[in-house]
Symmetry: C2
Subunit: 342 residues, 2 copies
């Protein structure tokens, strides 16, 4: 990694954009120049990158001239509009939105799971949905051993997954609810403080939400195995950072708790926290700010053949978004793939 790159962050002022900047710095990604891009409204904002001031520029079709790599976290519409301009200018895009994820010619990558898929990129690599990333990191070592047939997952998702404005909404609502004052939800359709919303992203015709559908479809694509059946219920809970998942897995082959624990313990990006007797299990407050995905509550489900339960927790802004995007960038740099194939 002796090369250095001109790196743009599109959506630099958002919750994930902020995490992208700090993770690039923390991990020493070889950045020659950092360009912060955002909407016209945020242009001129002064940000910090490695102790140097970076002034936010307006994102335009011309923003990518001379840029090698762009990390996008600015919403699906922005990605659809600007990622092609970036690619056209010879800039490789790692996109955190859902816009490109299911396109057959766009790799969808979790570096611990399917690093090889970066090899066939054509200028855009998609970063999966936060709740999918942490789940597949935990599923992969078990799938390699015992072949997953079916997954039933229920999520407990933090508000930061919606963005900085949702954290603000939770923190503003909380004291109002405690004081018995009325709240006026704006980011979410209903009060989120002291509540659970079984509704993330929009509803589809079959009664699933788009978030639930993402967990189903993206898991198959990342794992490279369309035979893995996934069904999901995605729920927003009043937690700031850290998604939790209750995951029930049915395998084709038997898998003991001991063997599952061994496989999970040595898998990349995972840490097993599973000592219930001493009240040790993964929790969002412990995962927040960390890079690993935490797994615990590992136990046999006796109601189906070859079935296990897991409880999986990770920082949705880091592994669920910014960290995974930077890891993809690292993979591209290692493989000398920070260029748009012609």
């Amino acid at each position: 990694m002796s090369k250095e790159y001109r790196v743009a962050v599109a959506g630099a002022t958002g919750a994930v954009g902020r995490a992208m900047r700090s993770i690039l710095a923390e991990r020493g990604f070889p950045v020659k120049e950092l360009v912060a891009l955002a909407t016209a409204k945020s242009a001129g904002t002064r940000l910090d990158y490695c102790g140097e001031e970076v002034i936010v520029q307006e994102l335009t079709p011309d923003s990518f001239k001379g840029i090698d790599l762009a990390l996008f976290s600015a919403g699906g519409g922005t990605s659809l509009k600007y990622a092609p301009h970036a690619r056209e200018a010879g800039c490789v895009v790692v996109d955190n939105s859902s816009a490109w994820r299911m396109e057959p010619d766009i790799p969808l990558v979790v570096p611990e799971v399917n690093p090889g898929d970066v090899d066939w990129h054509t200028g855009i690599i998609a970063n999966p949905n936060c709740s999918t990333i942490q789940m597949v990191v935990a599923l992969k070592p078990l799938h390699d051993e015992a072949q997953i047939e079916r997954v039933v997952v229920s999520t407990y998702q933090a508000v930061s997954g919606t963005g900085a404005k949702a954290i603000k909404e939770l923190l503003e609502q909380t004291p109002r609810v405690m004081a018995g004052e009325p709240v006026e939800p704006a980011v979410y359709p209903h009060q989120i403080a002291f509540n659970c919303l079984p509704h993330i992203d929009v509803f589809l015709e079959d009664g699933y939400t788009k978030e639930e559908r993402k967990m189903v479809d993206e898991t198959k694509k990342i794992m490279g195995d369309p035979s893995i059946a996934v069904t999901a219920t995605c729920v927003r809970v009043p937690v700031q950072i850290g998604h939790s998942e209750s995951v029930n897995i049915q395998f084709a082959k038997p898998l003991s708790v001991e063997r599952a624990r061994e496989l999970l313990s040595r898998a990349p990006g995972l840490k097993v926290l599973d000592d219930p007797e001493n009240k040790v299990y993964p929790m969002p407050i412990d995962a927040a700010g960390k890079d690993d995905t935490y797994v615990g509550r590992i136990r046999i489900d006796p109601t189906a053949e070859n079935a296990l339960h897991l409880w999986v927790v990770s920082d949705n802004l880091r592994k669920g978004a910014a960290l995974n995007a930077v890891q993809i960038a690292e993979l591209l740099a290692e493989r000398d793939l920070v260029r748009v194939p012609r």
Copy 2:
């Protein structure tokens, strides 16, 4: 119901005891006299019942002389110790603790599900666990139609299930966490504000918690069908009142969403709230203070044969505890069973 009864509430000062008193009054249960019982520490406390002052008496083995019916919500140890004294004195006990639930000669009753089981009581009737009650109310009409084979449930449980002191802990921790101050968990082993704890009740040898085991065992007993396989993951969330449940059900026979909705709509104690297009689905903030169990997010799970998802929410202090106990009392009164068989 022309008879009137001398009714004791044991654990009268707790969160459930308070709800028991108000529900007895609201529903016009034929109370001749209300006796409030609690530990010596609470004796002398003045409570209100139907606008009249009731002074809390210390719970002793002699508390039940002349009492017809006692509603217990004072923990398992207290029930084990005092319920036999009550029965001995000719007082019928409806017990909200887990102490007697799995005893073969003690009925475990949800009036909408197995009302007939009160008929064989021998002086003690057990009130099921909160998370089980709301689930079986929703499962029963579907089981009668299509025979449930397997249930995978993940819960989102409110702190009031632990008692009044846990509500206090959540409300005290919340502003401290927002201010960045340290918290000292006392009721729970870890911070509950802005967190999720995959730990309710104690851990058992197989890695399940006792709360999870209750959902497994109690469901079979209440539904009167040991063939129903249930597996559960029980999680405490920072919600004051109202348990939510993500329930995945596999049936022996096909069951359409339309038919499930029809069955659930006309079942007693249930209300279907399932209009996702208009952002209508059950939520704890709406269920709190209500008697019904709410069901929504009804949808086919295509990953298994004859499978459906439900999202079930109810007030854990009311239907999950106090209301169900009062409904059992009503059933006993209707059937003239407020007496200990000799």
